[in-house]
Amino acid sequence: MQAQVNPIIRSTGVWRAGLFGAGLLILLGTQASGFTAYVSNEKSNTVSVIDTDKFQVVKTIKVGQRPRGIELTKDGKFILVAVGDDDTIQMIDTTTHEIVTTLPSGPDPELFTQDPAGKILYVANEDANTVTIIDLEKKVPLGEVQVGVEPEGMGISPDGKILVNTSETTNMAHFIDTQTRQIVANVLVDSRPRFAEFKHDGSELWVSSEVGGTVSVIDPVKREVSKKITFDIPGLRKEAIQPVGISITRDGKTGFVALGPANRVAVINAVTHEVQKYLLVGQRVWHLAFTPDEKYLLTTNGVSNDVSVIDVASLRVIKTIQVGELPWGIAVSQQ
């Protein structure tokens, strides 16, 4: 049913799609996709729960101090949220919305990632120049890896064999063998790398550099930068273009990059690495998440305290949802 909606949007033309956007939304709303998005609000110390049928906040959960990195466990039972100023990661039950326990994340956790099986959590500790490895079932630390200065971005290869951490002041993507827990390669990228994302087939690793203003496309086999994506928005000063969050469609054809204070999400042909379009969203757009059907891409806009909803097929921003103060990270349930 939903598959029939997209051709309608395409055939009605751009301005009409905008005009009927609201109407289509109501139409879509009647088809229960049933996803839930969770947004960490860095300043409010809350997590906003968004129903992706209605695109409305249905609940606000109080969490620890300075929530940033947020993910769901692979079984969908828990929300994991890094509360940096409390030096821990909180686990929230997705049914009751109660905080059930905390994880020994090490100091000031910001971003983290899980292994494909959902058993191990890898956490970047910005203040300690380490990556902490945690057993998610036993909730105990398994060890740590020394990395560069101010580790932040965390990505894992689809086969779970290589963990990539980016360090903001060292300006590297560190390749860590998850078996030996040793660094096996270091790739220099542009200034202040923030986020690392593999393509679903593992053929490319994308790393965003916030201050450098670029996205480095890294060949995970050769472990070198094969292409640098740059951004040029007419009328906008270069310093305002600060790439952070990255999402790539499952088919590996389209990439989305949040450009921070440029208030735009860049749409990139992920095959040719050419920028196709810039979508105007809220202010200081930081992180991105698809709904599992990849129909929508949700963005957190820190300064305007909202979430923009991008219709992936039509590449249009169709809705804005007010959330808490300084929304930072976002995760969407798979069920």
């Binding site: 910005e126 060292t170 300006n171 220099l188 200034s191 203003g213 310093e239």
Partner: protein, 408 residues
Amino acid sequence: MTVSSNSRTTVARSVSLIRLLLAGTILFAWTSASADPVEIKIGYLRGPQPKTSISLLDIPPENNGVAGAQLAINDNNTTGKFLNQRFSLEDVQLNDKDDPAAAASSLAARGVSLVLADLPAAALLKAADAPGSQGLLFFNVGAIDDRLREEDCRGNVIHTAPTRSMLADALAQYLVWKQWRRWFLISGSHPEDKLYAEALRRAAKRFGARIVQEKVFEDTGGARRTDSGVVQIQRQLPVFTQGAPAYDVLIAADENDVFAAYLPYRTWDARPVAGSAGLIPTSWDPSHDQWGAVQMQERFMKLSSRRMTARDMQAWSAARMIGESAARTRSNDAKAMLGFLKSPDFALAAFKGQRLTLRDWNLQLRQPILLTDGRMIVSVSPQEGFQHQFSELDTLGLDRPESKCKLK
């Protein structure tokens, strides 16, 4: 080709020489990858610092600046582990009688090619112009004099300290944004105060403010602190600021900390104070916590057991620029580093919300300027709406078209 027996031996010799060279290269590559890291020696040249201040809180720490350089050296070495580079810092403290030129030459003789200099303008020029400084690359981390970036600019001196005109412009933009356009300017009697006052006058004119009254506060000497000094100050300052025409903000130019800190709450009219006291433009403040700066503040506190000053930040930026260029050029060669720093590829992440780059016409580091009240960051300039065709950061300080600098 005919080959005589003579030249045959030459060929044979050169072949074996090539073999030897090849073996040497392989050996070198092997050792450089596993054993000896590339050494990057950085000198820190500093003169005597003032030990007096009006507020007890403002007495500069003994390791002001050099502690920031040390933190950057540690950061560089963390990165260096992955690139087989090792950074070290040699701290050289000069007294009033020492010759900065000789000190620079002596650093060069010891294999140092990169020097962070925290020296007054004249001493810095002496060091940079010394015959023994050939091949040295200096980073000015202390002197804010515009002349070092203008008529007295040097091709071997990079500036991470902002200029007086950058500081004055940053303050002026905010005051104009705030619609506090009528200024009462009080400047001190020292030469630096006159330069700062001049920069403020220029800023007022540039951004549409008006100086309605000017006054000079003579430094008559004497101790900054006496047991009952506060009684006199409370009586003197209102009288000193009495009788000014209507104004919005009182601006003090007092780089030697003689009187400005006495002004807030003691003016005749109830007016805010800015400049050398009250709302102060600066490259860094211990209260700055945006754009990831908290990490930096905490890292610094852990290392130095005190808070991070503007001087520390200027030295950190310089040593990080060295680290960054060493990583990118994979070299410890000062010339190659300067080439990289001047190129469009260079960008420094320094917790200011945007990249810092070099003005290629005078080697000044472009940077946002923080406005602090001593407790909080009130604002960060450039202010919204002050536009520039190349970089809004170039709305701060003397711009390319007006520059008197001719780099050699």
